[in-house]
């Protein structure tokens, strides 16, 4: 029951925002709903929570099951941290129809958490789409100049993936012993090799587009660039995790044989993406596109580690799901403050931030080094374990993937140099007083970066049960 109430918090707040027309307190409502959810998420993270199970679609035997295991906990926690952080950090941004904007954001949050908590395939699919639809409106109404075309492409691309997944779900469902959508039934579905392969391909396409895996990634930089930054933060910190989550929750346990026989293919593709995106990031001048490509590289590494099908790789990914979200959120908030205050995202035009707003520059350096996985930042823990897994799989691949460690240093330090150092540029000189609320959020996030980087054990403990399920039979 707790999980249902928990899931309803953002939905109720969203409905409330849609009804109330007054915009004076819209920020306050969204922030309090976000913080309340965060409280719930922390409670879920540290306790053992009973599943919620209710009849839903009786005729086809689909149930409304919510469950919180380690995998769900860590992603729900990430989601619950991200949304209030975004609300607080961007509260000063000028947005028309703020109520609708925030309402849609809260609906997205509910959809995302539903995805992570769902224990029934149809329910999972329902939330998967529920998360996408508000984002479509957010991007196409409040986005940048090219928003219509870009959002259309983004929507069609990911929706196409979703449809494949739906077909896959129906395929597995029709072969379950008890004709049910529950995960357990899905695991016991009797699929022939050919069917398993087909289902694997259908699910994989959906997840590969969402992550995204090279070469299915081109919607992402455009979407990140054109979305309002608050939405970009959601997309990048949380929404891309849906793809990885799907692989861990559905793909690997359901189709182990097909996953194993295609591991090589997926890993090679992922690693090509890692190197490819890192190289492109070097040549970006737009801060948002740079972060976008950097994120593609990081996600590619996670996808490669997942498909090594090793316990150490899975452990790395479980931690990195969380860490990547925190780090990329920090970078986006900084990018947003810069864009709001200087009016530009071009790094050529920036410079001298360390003189103009030293605190923000320090925070930038902090997140930059988390982005390149410096030891004692959170990302090192995950990347260390993931690289280990790839090395176990094939040392040469680890060596090649390792090149991204150097490339990441190049593009990240380029960014720091161009934004923070040098003399104050014209654009930077236009910056007004520091955005205190954004800085406060950044400081909290940076504290998380270092705490989980120095002592990641709580994250390991939180996700131990997922690991056991997957690797100890």
């Amino acid at each position: 029951m707790f999980l249902l109430i928990f899931l309803l918090i953002p939905i109720i707040a969203a409905v409330f925002l849609f009804i109330v027309k007054k915009e004076t307190s819209s920020n306050a409502i969204a922030i309090s709903a976000g913080l309340l959810t965060l409280l719930g998420a922390v409670y879920i993270a540290v306790n053992k929570i009973d599943n919620f199970d209710a009849t839903w679609l009786l005729s086809i035997n689909s149930r409304f099951v919510l469950q919180a295991d380690g995998l769900a906990k860590i992603l729900v926690l990430l989601t619950a941290i991200s949304f209030p952080a975004i609300f607080i950090a961007t509260q000063k941004n000028q947005i028309q129809n703020k109520n609708s904007f925030l309402g849609l954001m809260l609906l997205t949050q509910a959809g995302l958490m539903g995805v992570f908590l769902a224990g029934d395939a149809l329910l999972f699919y329902f939330f998967w789409e529920l998360a996408l639809i508000p984002v479509y409106f957010l991007c196409s109404i409040w986005g940048g100049e090219k928003r219509i075309a870009i959002t259309f492409k983004f929507f069609i691309y990911t929706f196409l993936g979703s449809l494949f997944m739906l077909i896959g779900i129906i395929l597995v469902y029709s072969n379950t012993p008890d004709h049910s959508f529950l995960i357990e039934s899905f695991k016991h579905a009797s699929l022939t090799n050919g069917q398993q392969l087909a289902a694997f391909a259908l699910f994989f396409t959906a997840f590969a587009i969402k992550m995204p895996i090279f070469p299915l990634h081109t919607w992402q930089p455009d979407a990140y660039e054109q979305s309002p930054t608050a939405v970009t933060m959601v997309l990048s910190a949380v929404m891309v995790k849906m793809g990885l989550y799907g692989v861990i929750r559905w793909l690997l346990p359901l189709f182990p044989a097909a996953a194993a026989s295609h591991a090589h293919f997926v890993i090679v593709l992922s690693l090509i993406g890692v190197i490819y995106a890192s190289f492109i990031a070097i040549r970006q001048d737009d801060v948002k596109r740079l972060i976008a490509y950097s994120s593609i590289a990081h996600i590619g590494l996670m996808s490669a580690a997942l498909f090594t099908n090793t316990s150490i790789g899975m452990q790395g990914v479980l931690v990195q799901l969380f860490s990547h979200g925190i780090n990329v959120l920090g970078l986006w908030i900084i990018a947003d403050v810069l864009e709001q205050q200087t009016g530009t995202r071009s790094m050529k035009a920036l410079g001298g931030l360390a003189k103009k707003q030293p605190t923000l520059a320090i925070l930038l350096v902090g997140f930059a080094f988390a982005n390149i996985a410096l030891p004692l930042t959170n990302a090192f823990v995950g990347e260390f374990l993931m690289f280990n897994a790839i090395f176990q799989f094939n040392p040469w691949m680890a060596a090649i993937a390792g090149v991204s460690v150097v490339l990441a240093a190049i593009y990240t330090l380029n960014m720091v140099q161009k934004i923070a150092y040098g003399n104050i540029s014209e654009a930077t000189s236009a910056m007004s007083t520091p955005n205190k609320s954004a800085q406060a959020v950044l400081i909290v996030l940076l504290v998380i970066v270092f705490i989980t980087g120095v002592y990641p054990q709580p994250l390991f403990n939180m996700t131990a049960d997922t690991l056991h399920q997957l690797f100890v039979k």
Partner: protein, 639 residues
């Protein structure tokens, strides 16, 4: 012991947090006292730890588990033993002096930047201590990248200067290339042994589990890490550029401590390195080549700090030569003596630069002997020590390496002595041009010439004393000494190998190398005591002056092609090919939709035709008793 080790590490960390968080609050005086005081505290506890090791042996303390999962366990353990306790003393001892020196050297900085400087410097000491105290390779790696971070931050300390920023970035990236090698070595160890703790990895049992290929690969990869951090060919070009940082930083990080991390790493892993003949040769050859290459470059440089930087690269090369031929204690010995005399030389250079109002070109100096008496005499001591003149410290450590090299191969020895001669030459060229002859600077500079304050001269004096007498810790038995250091290091590197050399040979080698160095030294003084070097005329002179054009080579052969490749990926592959294919698919759908739309043309005949086709398809399905779903699975079964 846990408390002592914990505090050694925590004092500098506290200093970092205090100065970093309070940069807008504290006065410069508070900052200076705290920053220096904390390092001195750390030094005091290091002395305690050292004597503890002397009396009751090595100690390992467990703090918490950094990573503890089903598959891998990496404890956060710190260990003091004979090797790390020596490094502790050098790091915190020299560190304290350099902090003290910095309080005066950086006094013109505004308070927030002053705090920032000391915060970085404290953080550096913290990271360096982790590096040498860690009880496994992952903790070492944490410190390893941590010192890289601090080096980056301090090289780019004056962040409005674009050149300095490039130098900082270059240092970090080149180090990262090395770090990748280190990381791969760690993964290799984990795959083969399941652990990275020294206590398990560095034992005969583990060695037996590793194949020759494993050992060679692991040691070579570790050495790649060392190449980056300790500036060896081909990853050395960042170190001369790193001189962009404030001079005390160059002394502490880029001479005395951080750059010797590679030597520490290999000495720590000596069991592995001794097991691979091949790696030993690679290390020795890279070491001696670096020593010679950078010595030739140092002959022609005119920037006081650049000469010292190339000299550092060269001396590090000697240390690797020592490691490569198995003279681990000799290499550590040279690390210690080098820490003293090179820190001294850098701080002396800082004192000169300070007096000359940020002039670093030695051609515009000259005759500083009388104006800067303390700087002069201490600098001279440093030069004698590095040139290897007995009984100063550099003589003993360099001689130990050279005689071990001779035992391995006389070629190493010959090359080493050539390098030593060049060292003596360029150091005394530097000394004579700077301190002897007539003053060649401006009137105004001459007017302002002054000796530095006590906070700066005191460290110079203490380091000069150390540079002069530190050889005492390793007087060879040949000279009736006891070689305290090599006895110290027996638990780490084992009994020193008895060289096959007779005493006569050893004396002869020593006499040869010393006399060659002394001759080179006198030639340099004679040549430069009156005038500075001109612009180089000869082709060779220009070639050396331009540092063998290695930076240009890297730029043209590596950086530019990669940059172009990245541009090609961005502009052509990404935009036209991949995204083009995606958009093309979209357009194709739209196109076919436009065409198919024409089927709905309002003519009833067409409609009836399609209805009939539809009915036939439905019937077919029905006849085969195939629902849509089963049809689908049917298809996939076939595949």
């Amino acid at each position: 012991m846990k408390v002592i080790i914990g505090l050694i590490v925590l004092w500098p960390l506290a200093g970092f947090l205090f100065n970093g968080l309070g940069r807008n609050i504290w006065s410069k005086k508070t900052i200076a006292y705290k920053a220096t005081g904390y390092i001195v505290c750390s030094f005091i506890f290091s002395i305690l730890a050292f004597f503890n090791v002397q009396s009751s042996g090595a100690a390992t303390v467990h703090f918490f588990d950094f990573i503890n999962t089903d598959t891998i366990k990496i404890p956060f353990d710190l260990k003091v033993d004979a090797l790390s306790s020596l490094f502790l003393l050098v790091i915190t001892g020299v560190g304290s002096l350099i902090h003290l020196y910095s309080t005066a050297y950086m006094k013109d900085e505004e308070a927030p930047h002053y705090a920032r400087y000391f915060a970085y410097l404290n953080l550096f000491v913290f990271s360096m201590l982790l590096l040498v105290l860690g009880d496994n390779y992952v903790i070492m790696f944490i410190g390893w990248e941590g010192v890289g971070l601090c080096s980056y931050l301090l090289i780019g300390y004056w962040f409005t200067n674009a050149t300095y920023n490039y130098a900082a970035k270059k240092a970090f990236i080149m180090n990262r290339i090395g770090d990748l090698g280190f990381l791969l070595a760690i993964f290799w160890l984990i795959v083969k042994l399941g652990t990275v703790s020294y206590g398990t990895v560095l034992t005969a049992e583990s060695l037996a589990k590793l194949s020759t290929t494993d050992i060679t690969a692991i040691t070579l990869l570790l050495f790649v890490g060392a190449m980056g951090k300790s500036a060896q060919i081909p990853l050395y070009t960042w170190l001369p550029d790193a001189m962009a940082g404030p001079t005390p930083v160059s002394a502490l990080i880029h001479a005395a401590t951080m750059v010797t991390a590679g030597i520490y790493m290999i000495t720590r892993s000596n069991i592995l390195f001794s097991a691979s003949e091949f790696t030993g040769h690679v290390v020795a050859i890279v070491g001696i080549s670096t020593a010679l290459l950078s010595a030739t470059i140092a002959l022609k440089q005119n920037d006081i700090k650049k000469v010292l930087a190339y000299s550092t690269v060269s001396q590090l090369g000697y240390m690797f030569l020592g490691l490569g031929v198995g003279a681990y204690s000799g290499a550590v010995f040279h690390v210690i003596t080098h820490a003293f005399f090179k820190a001294l030389l850098f701080l002396g250079a800082g004192s000169v630069i300070h007096a000359m109002h940020h002039e670093q070109d030695i051609r515009k100096m000259g005759g500083l002997k009388s104006k800067l008496p303390i700087t002069h005499i201490t600098f001279l001591i440093g030069c004698i020590a590095i040139a290897g003149v007995p009984p100063f410290s550099g003589f003993f450590s360099k001689d130990e390496i050279l005689s071990a090299a001779f035992a391995k191969s006389p070629v190493y020895w010959v090359l080493g002595v050539i390098g030593a001669a060049m060292t003596a030459f360029y150091m005394f060229r530097l000394y004579a041009t700077t301190f002897l002859g007539q003053f060649r600077g401006t009137e105004e500079q001459a007017h302002h010439l002054h000796e530095s304050p006590v906070a700066m001269t005191l460290p110079l004096i203490l380091l000069a004393v150390a540079s002069a007498i530190a050889g005492a810790i390793g007087i060879p038995e040949l000279m009736g000494g006891h070689h305290w250091l090599s006895h110290q290091l027996i638990p780490i590197v084992g009994e020193a190998h008895e060289t096959s050399l007779s005493h006569t040979t050893e004396w002869a080698l020593m006499a040869a190398s010393v006399s060659i160095a002394v001759i080179a030294l006198f030639i340099a003084v004679q040549k430069y005591k009156r005038q500075a070097d001109d612009e180089p005329h000869s082709a060779l002179g220009k070639f050396l002056y331009n540092k063998w054009h290695v930076d240009e080579l890297y730029g043209n052969a590596i950086i530019q092609p990669l940059n172009k490749f990245a541009g090609f990926l961005k502009e052509t592959v990404e935009k036209n090919i991949i995204d083009g294919a995606v958009n093309g698919t979209g357009k194709l759908v739209q196109y076919s939709a436009r065409k198919l739309r024409l089927i709905q043309n309002g003519q009833v005949g067409y409609y009836i035709l399609f209805i009939v086709i539809g009915i036939i398809v439905l019937f077919l399905c029905w006849f085969n008793d195939i629902a849509i779903l089963h049809f689908l699975s049917y298809l996939t079964k076939k595949s």
